[in-house]
Symmetry: C2
Subunit: 205 residues, 2 copies
DNA sequence: ATCAAATATGAATACCCATTCATTTTATGA
DNA sequence: TCATAAAATGAATGGGTATTCATATTTGAT
């Protein structure tokens, strides 16, 4: 299934195309995919209902287009923020921070990505499977370089994704402490990742 | 909003009531809330469409009923599995294991709980906020008893929920390694929680 | 200025689905 | 056995919405 009819070329067409994307992002976030009608989207975008179908073959294709775009945005954002970091620890910290700041700026992303589980399960699976795959590559490298312990990196990748996602959830949904400061939270998380949760007497192996 | 019309009393009524719940659980899991019609549910339950409304005032109320029931089931299951454990470490391990085994047995739970984010956001918030609150109580106690380090227990609770949920997701959706063994995965997770991810030379404080 | 292609319009279409209700069947207790 | 209540039926209703299409406008090249 193609996600768009064709790339718009003229100035006006580009504006219309982006107006649709912007309205959809906003409405999908506020009301969810199912409660958002194509008419809601077109009227918020300031265009006629029929115009929508000049750009997208269906409502679902628009959703997929947004999801794919966002998954790229997330990867690019994280990659750019950790590119110049040299240690795995710093990469991890900046990666988490980048993700949280991104979803805080654009809380739409959260909703849209998770909602895929209910719109197209394969899309959801693919999203996390491919994210994990990349993560594992980075972790394996760090194991080789002796920076992190030799654990099952696939499991570790899901642990780290879980941490990042739920901390993001807390921040985006304003769960718990209302005065959350991203840096402070990330410090706590990194402390956990570095030292573990428990008090032990024995030195580390 | 009440979730059911009234508790059924006679034998047949109880059967019908449970047939509806079972069919709904199955169909919401397979196709999601929005793609499941009341007719789908009643025909899979082997009853007429109208009968549905003798038990539930609306489709949404059935969903809420399932969600509330499941959140109780999860808490009860975890509580019963950790009741006799004495150390925080064991409680944590058995809690994670109980959760994963439960969602593996009834993968419906996963979908239904997360889908609440798109059906009724307050429901979703309440679910995790109250889960976190309980978690924090337990963690605070363990901090007092010197079993775990004195970190922000609210942040820690989201970290632990995130880990558990994403490991559960991996298992339920069969992401990555297809021969996942729950005990082995939980061992990796607990190792992480105990020692952290990184190799450090200094002994623990 | 002219024309063809690209864009845009919005009312009409066609389908879907939650819920209702008049009617029938089944259970219960006197 | 009969009367009453409880449970069940399923066709009909009504509201909603994704998509289409005949028509109109705008754009850009010649």
């Amino acid at each position: 299934m193609q996600t768009i009819v064709k790339e718009p070329t003229t100035r006006n067409a580009i504006n219309t195309f982006h107006a649709i994307l912007e309205a959809a992002e906003d409405l999908f976030y506020k009301n969810g995919y199912h409660k958002t009608t194509v008419n809601n989207i077109t009227s918020q975008a300031g265009i006629a209902a029929g115009t929508f179908y000049l750009y997208f073959p269906s409502k679902l294709s628009l959703y997929k287009h947004l999801l794919i775009q966002m998954s790229h945005d997330i990867r690019r954002e994280i990659a750019s923020k950790i590119a110049d970091k040299t240690t795995r620890f710093e990469k991890e910290r900046e990666g988490i921070k980048a993700f949280i700041n991104l979803v805080r700026r654009r809380p739409h992303m959260y909703n849209i990505i998770w909602e895929s589980l209910y719109i197209d399960r394969e899309l959801f699976r693919d999203y996390y499977a491919s994210f994990a795959k990349r993560y594992v590559r980075g972790l394996d490298q760090s194991v080789q370089q002796g920076e992190i312990r030799a654990l099952d990196t696939e499991v570790v990748s899901y642990v780290l994704m879980g941490i990042t996602n739920f901390i993001g959830l807390k921040v985006v949904l304003n769960l718990g402490d209302k005065n959350d400061d991203v840096d402070r939270i990330v410090d706590v998380v990194m402390d956990l990742i570095r030292h573990g949760l428990f008090i032990t007497d024995a030195p580390k192996p």
